[in-house]
């Protein structure tokens, strides 16, 4: 069996956590594209399943950022060097081949289709669908599975030679009360124990699930969180298997079985036929401009989230607000863009794709970093706006 990559320095651990924040981010557009493709009010079971997983990915991203901050490193969108590899971008671009985890395969933006759900199951499967760990090719400085990656992170966090006790500081932590509240509670990291607890929570809820979980009852609640009234969630893998098979698990079934419980039907005609088209054209057409506008909004959102992780409150100048001296944490401001983004995505997916009859537009979730490219994007949209008027 191939020896898995180990993290041996604090510098590499920090780089790994920068990439972990990005790894958690990278699944969100994949799931959101499917979620937003569902026509309003239809396929409610599927929508609820996908939505619940997205919320947990957002939680995981926040947890990874809290761990990183506790190590004294500010989460950033900038590329990092990890081990012998240079310039790995934490921010995903689609279709995405993870720079870190080879087993996960290519992440694509697809509407809710059987193929999309197959992809979800692959992401969340402990071995990403492979029969054995050894069947997954690996490159130097990389990992075969998300589980392997987080194992390495956890091992490094647990090693005082890599991160001594005095490295951990409770700085720039996103508090639980600032988080939306679905999917569980944010852990504020202040020491080694809470850092490991945060990583364990990421692993337990979702990706990086240890293989042996497959042999346990599918509906085992892996996370200690209880949001109340018995609301509890089993693993992402089991949830997506249900969606894949069109049935719920019965309580006595194991996660590696085929679900045989109640029907969970998906009406694939109640899904917008969105088709992802990569960045390859100008934005001369109104459709191109709309896609650009989405990318700009998404870029602002990513910036705002990272700003929140960096502990920078967003300045909101509001002469009418008597409470203007109050803190305005950036994460809460970012929520506004999350809703705006949803509306934009839904509108795009209702817009016929002029180049591909029978399909509609698909948001690209393309992050344009601040600087020259961002300025050009803004300029293009402004010119376009001028034409419309």
């Amino acid at each position: 069996m191939t020896e898995s990559t180990r993290i041996t320095s604090l510098k590499d651990l920090k780089a790994a956590l920068q990439l972990a924040v990005g790894l958690e981010l990278s699944t969100i557009p994949v799931y959101l594209t499917a979620l937003y493709s569902i026509e309003a009010g239809r396929n409610t079971d599927a929508a609820q399943t996908i939505r619940s997983v997205v919320m947990e990915e957002m939680l995981h991203m926040t947890l990874a950022a809290n761990v990183l901050n506790a190590l004294g490193e500010v989460p950033s969108t900038r590329p990092v060097d990890f081990q012998d590899r240079r310039n790995l971008s934490p921010i995903p671009a689609y279709p995405l081949d993870s720079p870190l985890v080879s087993g996960i395969g290519t992440l694509e933006l697809l509407p809710l289709t059987p193929r999309a759900v197959d992809g979800f199951v692959r992401i969340e499967h402990p071995l990403h669908g492979a029969a054995t760990l050894d069947a997954i090719p690996v490159q130097s400085g990389g990992f075969r599975t998300i589980g392997e990656f987080y194992d390495a992170v956890d091992a490094a966090l647990n090693d005082p030679a890599i991160c001594p006790d005095d490295v951990f500081r409770p700085v720039r932590q996103i508090p639980d009360s600032d988080y939306y509240g679905g999917a569980g509670h944010v852990i504020e990291v202040k020491d080694r124990a809470t850092a490991r607890e945060a990583v364990l929570k990421i692993v337990d809820q979702g990706e990086g699930l240890p293989e042996e979980y497959l042999h346990r009852p599918a509906k085992t609640v892996t996370d200690a969180d209880r949001l109340g009234s018995g609301w509890q969630m089993y693993s992402h893998y089991a949830r997506f298997r249900e969606l894949q098979c069109g049935r719920r698990f019965r309580p006595d079934q194991r996660a590696d079985q085929n679900p045989e419980g109640a029907m969970l039907l998906v009406d694939h005609t109640a899904v917008q036929p969105a088709l992802y088209t990569p960045h390859n054209g100008g934005s001369d057409s109104p459709e191109g401009a709309a896609l650009d506008a989405f990318d700009l909004a998404y870029s602002h959102l990513v910036d705002d989230i990272y700003r929140a992780f960096a502990g920078e409150p967003k300045e909101v100048v509001d002469p009418l607000d008597r409470h203007a001296d109050r803190e305005r944490p950036a994460l809460r401001s970012a929520v506004h863009i999350m809703y705006a983004l949803k509306n934009m995505a839904v509108a795009l997916m209702r817009t016929p794709n002029p180049a591909k009859p029978g399909h509609t537009l698909c948001p690209r979730f393309s992050y344009v970093p601040p600087g020259g490219d961002r300025d050009k994007l803004v300029q293009r949209l402004e010119n376009r706006g001028g034409q419309d008027r």
Binding site: G41, T44, D45, Q48, R51, S52, M55, S177, D178, Y180, G181, G182, A183, L227, G228, S229, G230, W231, D318, L320, D321, R322, R332, V335, Y339
Partner: protein, 667 residues
């Protein structure tokens, strides 16, 4: 189907599945379990309406119904059955009165039979979860003087409770049942001695060190409109003159309203999300449809508490070796038709059972059952409690059952502001102006609360639809006007500037405002429909010109004092009242529209004297000691607070009492 289904071994049967029922069931269970020795009551809840929304996706069918409804009135998402009909504000018609003041032709085109002279303008929902499905979520406590109107102002009656008595229950209602978002410092009301911290000071120093109270969640941000009004009206003091020529002054302060909508939690508080999907509804998302439905369930509804109960206390024997637990059964589509009892006129007795009929949606005939229990609770809404008691000839030695029906008669004023204020965005209301809630004027005219609405002119002018109509040319000009981009641009200028404000008047208890029954008016199951006599007293009417004048002073301050009418659109005061509207009320030769606020109160008032009240301060019937009659019906006076929070506090107090009574009995 057998009618003998071993129902006789319930400890408590509750009629109605709304917030009072949920609160009492939860409180009794938790209190009784904490006693020594613990008790684990078995509770049955009988709901007349359907239980559609007990899972998140079924709740979405309500959201769909709301989105498809042409008139988005409070009950539009919640379909009723002819077996358990519900009032609808669209049914409100004006009865025709004879010259002698008697009713010549009642208005009976809905569920209510309106005997007049004014129609009762409010509704309620008959569905599991009750009217909390479509409440706004406002959670104002009553003011100290609201509980002692007779002592303070020589008008109406005193409560058998003081504010201080109810305070700990208010705290529990805010924390343990509803989940209220507010900041104490914003709560500046008249009549509390100027210091909100003192008014909210808690005796629970374990939970609130030093008695410094805070709400479980921080305030919902004030809307842009609220902030605009606060800035524009800064320093405004409204001056009004009473009947003796004495001036009364009211400094206008905009105050963020406590609401049962989820927001950022305080340390240790877990917001309660949607029923069956806790990932949803953890925070208010700013949807503007609090009434009739919060699509995310960030707004509290009683389904949340009921759901917690059926998950934690399922109605089945514990598994072998499992600890004994309370059991809760909820049966929907079960309409109680009679309270069976031993009471003779003028005497006391006990309740011996309830008769109810279960109806079905598949065409099969309703099935009648009788259920017995140690303790009975009527929690079916003030109007439904009254009709059931009257039909049963129960608990009415005082002849007060059905009387003292109250609401917050509502005067709307509206105008077009000089600036866009984001109308139609965000929750229905986030602030109010509390200045008129208390003062010496209450000896001769009623107090009122001012609610700032974020819903543009939808209530008075059917906006945005009628605005569109005006602009495309359906207005008075009759000419085709704007369309396309110009239409959108003009709408974008007008709609965000639409402003309306509601002046909600406290109604005083009057024995002639009453719910009665009449054998000529029955529903499909043969149960009595409410027959309602309703009017506004001179005490209420005296505040109509005051509210109107206060509105004029406010609008002038806002720069919109000019009278303007549609289809013209420019800054100004658009308030006008068409005398043909069913809600028209004339006072001193001036016409007003007075609408219902959905606050159905009175009908079984509490008091210490069995001769003049129906229940005691624990909402226990004076006549039938094993019967509790609970809800807004128990309130002797209404104050200017929306009544749900107070109703919940009363239910907590009742729940404590019922749990205490279980204590003496065998476990």
């Amino acid at each position: 189907m057998s009618t003998n289904d071993h129902d006789h071994d319930y400890d408590i049967v509750i009629v109605g599945g709304g917030i009072s029922a949920a609160t009492i069931a939860k409180t009794v269970i938790e209190k009784a379990a904490a006693q020594t020795p613990p008790r684990h009551p078995r509770i049955l809840v009988l709901e007349a309406g359907r239980a559609t929304a007990m899972s998140a996706d079924k709740y979405d069918t309500y959201v769909d119904a709301y989105q498809e409804a042409l008139a988005k009135v409070p009950n539009s998402p919640y379909p009723a059955s002819s077996s358990a009909p519900q009032p609808n504000v669209l049914d409100i018609g004006r009865p025709i009165m004879g010259p002698d003041g008697t009713t010549r032709v009642p208005s009976d085109n809905g569920y209510f039979v309106q005997m007049g002279p004014l129609p009762f303008g409010s509704d309620y929902a008959r569905s599991l979860g009750g009217t909390t499905l479509h409440w706004l979520g406002t959670c104002l406590r009553m003011l100290p003087n609201d509980f002692r109107m007779q002592d303070a102002y020589g008008h109406s009656v005193n409560w058998p409770l003081r504010y201080e008595d109810l305070k700990p229950y208010y705290e529990r209602a805010e924390w343990d049942i509803i989940g209220v978002s507010a900041d104490v410092e914003d709560q500046v009301y008249p009549g509390i001695g100027g210091d909100p911290a003192k008014y909210f000071e808690s005796a629970d120093t374990g939970k609130f060190p030093g008695g410094v109270y805070h709400f479980p969640m921080e305030r919902i941000p004030s809307s842009y409109l609220d902030q605009y009004l606060a800035k524009k009206s800064a320093g405004l003091v409204v001056e009004l003159t009473d009947d003796h020529g004495r001036p009364h002054t009211f400094p206008v302060e905009v105050s963020n309203t406590p609401v049962g909508r989820n927001s950022r939690p305080a340390e240790g508080y877990q917001p309660i999300g949607a029923v069956g999907n806790f990932d949803q509804g953890q925070r208010c998302e700013g949807n503007s449809s609090c009434i009739p439905i919060c699509p995310a369930q960030a707004k509290y509804n009683a389904l949340k508490t009921l759901y917690e109960l059926i998950v934690k206390y399922p109605d089945r024997e514990p598994a072998d070796g499992g600890a004994r637990k309370a059991r809760v059964a909820i049966r929907s589509q079960c309409v109680v038709s009679r309270v069976l009892h031993t009471q003779r006129t003028g005497g006391t007795g006990t309740v011996t059972g309830l008769t109810y009929r279960t109806y079905f949606d598949d065409g099969s005939a309703p099935v009648e059952h009788t259920v017995t229990a140690d303790t009975y609770v009527l929690a079916a809404n003030a109007v439904e409690n009254a009709t059931l008691l009257l039909a049963s000839g129960a608990a009415n030695n005082s002849d007060q059952v059905g009387r003292n029906l109250m609401d917050h008669p509502l005067l709307i004023t509206w105008g077009l502001l000089e600036d866009g204020v984001g109308a139609f965005r965000g929750p229905g209301s986030t602030s109010g102006i509390p200045a008129f809630r208390d003062g010496t004027f209450r000896s001769e005219r009623t107090a009122f609360r001012v609610e700032i609405g974020n819903w543009g002119w939808n209530f008075p002018e059917n906006a945005p639809y009628d605005t569109v109509h005006d602009l495309v040319g359906g207005g008075e000009s009759g000419q085709v006007g704007l369309y396309g981009k110009e239409l959108r641009a003009r709408l974008g200028e007008i709609l965000p500037r639409q402003f309306r404000i509601a002046w909600e008047l406290e109604q005083d208890p009057e024995p002639t405002n009453r719910v009665t029954i009449d054998d000529r008016y029955k529903d499909a199951l043969g149960n009595h429909r409410p027959v309602i006599h309703y009017d506004l007293s001179p005490y209420v009417r005296a505040s109509l010109p005051w509210a109107s004048e206060a509105s004029r002073q406010l609008f002038t301050q806002l720069g919109i004092g000019d009278e303007v009418r549609r289809p013209e659109y420019r800054p100004g005061d658009y308030t006008h009242y068409d005398p043909d509207d069913p809600s028209a009320v004339t006072h001193d030769g001036v016409t007003y529209w007075v609408r219902g606020a959905g606050h159905v109160v009175g009908t079984h008032r509490m008091g210490t004297d069995p001769a003049t009240s129906v229940v005691d301060s624990h909402q226990r019937s004076h006549d039938l000691p094993n019967l509790y009659i609970v809800g807004c019906g128990s309130m002797p006076t209404l104050g200017t607070s929306n009544p749900t929070l107070t109703m919940t506090a009363l239910a907590l107090r009742t729940g404590d009492r019922i749990a205490e009574q279980l204590k003496g009995k065998d476990a």
